[in-house]
């Protein structure tokens, strides 16, 4: 019987940061986790619990100090930094809490950027960017400068940009952290829609009601998984 290769598999992953005084800080302390394709996972924990580090490692922005991270069955340590950039470009979409967009750049140019790095033609970039913006209902702001739109609009543009390369994984780090309840709900519904279409979503949050959108909730305390609950 052929075993199914999980999308994300972490084995005893640790992450240790050196501190200025020569000490070091243990952000992750032996985390093991499997995420299958199409899951909607919320990772919860108080600030300083290591949940952001967790996301950075899963998003190939950072590498584990020890342990193994297999993405689609392949150890990420075998990739060069350019190969990692290529995987981030094509397979992973990011939505951060803040500083999501290039300032003083139009909304559409922001959404086009990942496609530029992928070498997609200008014509195709514009078309796909507009499609993505339409999906999050912000196509009417395409030519606005990113610093001239509201926080909720920024997050919608960020989602459009994250999805424009049709990645298999969406990583969202406190995507509603700066938004009011109503706008937060709208953003979460957009993310939920993407998951319904098959995108694997990993959501970092410390808010229960946001985590409730997910089908699986993992709680982290002091760099360790304390609960892993599927609905």
């Amino acid at each position: 019987m052929a075993t199914k290769i999980p999308l994300i598999k972490l084995e005893k992953v640790t992450k240790r940061y050196p501190l200025a005084d020569g000490e070091s800080y243990q952000a992750l302390n032996g985390v093991s986790l499997i995420v299958e394709k199409g899951e909607f996972v919320a990772i919860m924990g108080p600030s300083g619990s290591g949940k952001s580090t967790f996301m950075h490692i899963m998003g190939l922005l950072d590498i584990p100090s020890t342990g193994k991270y297999l993405l689609k069955g392949k150890d990420v340590k075998s990739y060069t930094s350019d190969e990692l950039a290529d995987i981030r470009n094509k397979d992973i979409g990011f939505v951060f809490q803040s500083f999501n967009l290039l300032s003083r750049t139009t909304v559409i140019k922001n959404v086009e950027r990942p496609m530029m790095y992928a070498g997609i033609s200008q014509e195709e970039r514009t078309k796909r960017a507009m499609d993505a913006l339409r999906l999050v209902q912000i196509d009417n702001k395409a030519e606005n400068l990113s610093n001239h739109i509201s926080g909720g609009q920024i997050q919608r543009v960020a989602i459009a940009r994250a999805m424009v390369m049709e990645p298999s994984i969406l990583l969202a780090d406190e995507p509603t952290g700066n938004l009011d309840t109503k706008t937060s709900k709208e953003i979460m519904n957009h993310i939920k829609d993407l998951n319904k279409k098959g995108t694997t979503v990993i959501l970092i949050t410390h808010e229960e009601d946001i985590a409730d959108f997910a089908k699986r909730i993992i709680k982290i305390v002091d760099g360790k998984i304390v609960t892993d609950r599927k609905k």
């Binding site: 950075h56 922005l61 950072d62 981030r88 094509k90 290039l102 750049t105 990942p114 790095y117």
Partner: protein, 403 residues
């Protein structure tokens, strides 16, 4: 990689900080401006001299009496009409075309109730071959005028105006030089910007009459020799030097008691001075460009630090090291090339103003412009490389976390 998009983005970034960008470009602007300015003016000066010399022709050279300029000026009298005749008739000097002796002396001229001191030039019928006058009235001196020692005069156009007024034909009139009457047989005008006004203010008389009546002795200030073939001019100069040394009984070890200078000599002197000057200014501009380049590097380093988070974001969405490197490098190059273009515009405008003030031709050197563009982009690449590499090598997580 979409370079057009990156250049557009770079222009946007630079526009955000207009003041900072302009100040950074200043060093480049000054460097390029001075190079373009000096090269243009230098080439204008060379063109001026070349035009000037070709208005007389480059097919002649000049023999002056005395071993050096000082002895020429103090009245050294080592050249004779026999020397002139020898050069004319030597069968081995086949390249010699015309040989024109000139004797100069200021004298008191009266005519038409005017009384002025005028330069008198004693010469022969061949003088127009080199001086290239425009004969306004009458004719130039003939060989009969000389052989018969006739008291005739050809007036320069300005001299004619002084005595007889504008647009008046004075041929047939009489003038007095040092009291002796002369018949005016022609008026000649000289175009040359350098010597034109001196020549047009002179009066030309047969050289024999000049010696007898005005100098009181045989005294030649210069012998002009024109040649058939300009390419052989140096050989002809050498041959004439040998001939004159022999005629003047100069032994080995004795210096020449005459000097030979050709239009080519003057031109090459001017070219040497100009290229030396250009080299000097280029060196100074080089320093300005280096200082400008360091300024660019400094600002690019500041920019990389300021935009660390942006670099992190770009890396998160898939920018490779090469992408970031290219973006920052293009920003630096856009800045220096832009400075270079401003420098070119300022340099050309400056050269235009200077050349019209000084009265030399306005020359724009395409080579200098290409060089300026090349050098300014090179400065951008050289000084932008380090900051761009620094940006490209940032780890995505360190960049994203940067506060």
């Amino acid at each position: 990689m979409d370079y057009r998009e990156i250049v557009k983005t770079s222009l946007q970034v630079l526009r955000r900080n207009v003041m900072r960008t302009s100040l950074t470009m200043l060093g480049i602007i000054i460097g390029i401006t001075s190079v373009i300015l000096i090269v243009s003016i230098g080439q204008g000066a060379v063109k001026f001299i070349t035009d000037e010399l070709s208005s007389f022709g480059t097919d002649y050279f000049q023999i002056s009496p005395g071993a050096d300029q000082f002895s020429t000026l103090t009245g050294s009298n080592t050249l004779t009409l026999d020397d002139v005749e020898a050069i004319k008739t030597d069968p081995s000097l086949t390249n010699v075309n015309k040989v024109i002796p000139v004797s100069l002396q200021a004298a008191r001229v009266t005519a038409n109730d005017e009384d002025e001191t005028v330069n008198i030039s004693g010469t022969t019928t061949d003088a127009p071959a080199i001086l290239r006058p425009e004969i306004l009235y009458g004719e130039f001196l003939s060989s009969e005028n000389n052989t018969a020692s006739e008291h005739v005069a050809v007036m320069g156009s300005d001299a004619s105006e002084t005595f007889f007024g504008e647009d008046t034909n004075p041929t047939g009139e009489r003038i007095r030089i040092n009291g002796t009457p002369y018949l005016v047989i022609g008026v000649a005008h000289f175009e040359s910007a350098l010597a034109g006004s001196v020549l047009s203010n002179s009066i030309f008389v047969p050289i024999n009459v000049m010696f007898r009546e005005i100098q009181g002795q045989e005294r030649i200030q210069e012998i002009n020799v024109s040649v058939h073939n300009t390419e052989l001019i140096n050989q002809t100069i050498d041959d004439i030097e040998v001939l004159l040394r022999d005629r003047h009984d100069l032994n080995e070890g004795n210096e020449n008691d005459f000097r030979i200078s050709s239009a080519q000599d003057i031109l090459s002197t001017v070219e040497t001075i100009t290229s030396l000057l250009t080299l000097m200014i280029a060196a100074i501009s080089g320093i300005s460009l280096i200082v400008g380049g360091v300024g660019v590097m400094n600002i690019m380093l500041v920019s990389v630090t300021e935009r660390t988070k942006e670099i992190g974001l770009l890396k998160a969405i898939g920018a490779k090291e090469k992408d970031i490197l290219t973006q920052f490098l293009i920003e630096a190059v856009v800045m220096t090339v832009f400075g270079g273009i401003i420098g070119i515009i300022l340099g050309i405008s400056g050269a235009f103003v200077v050349s019209s003030l000084v009265g030399i031709p306005f020359v724009v050197s395409p080579v200098a412009i290409l060089l300026a563009v090349g050098v300014s982009s090179l400065v951008g690449i050289a000084f932008g490389l380090y900051p761009a590499r620094k940006a490209a090598r940032l780890s995505p997580i360190d960049a994203l976390r940067y506060e």
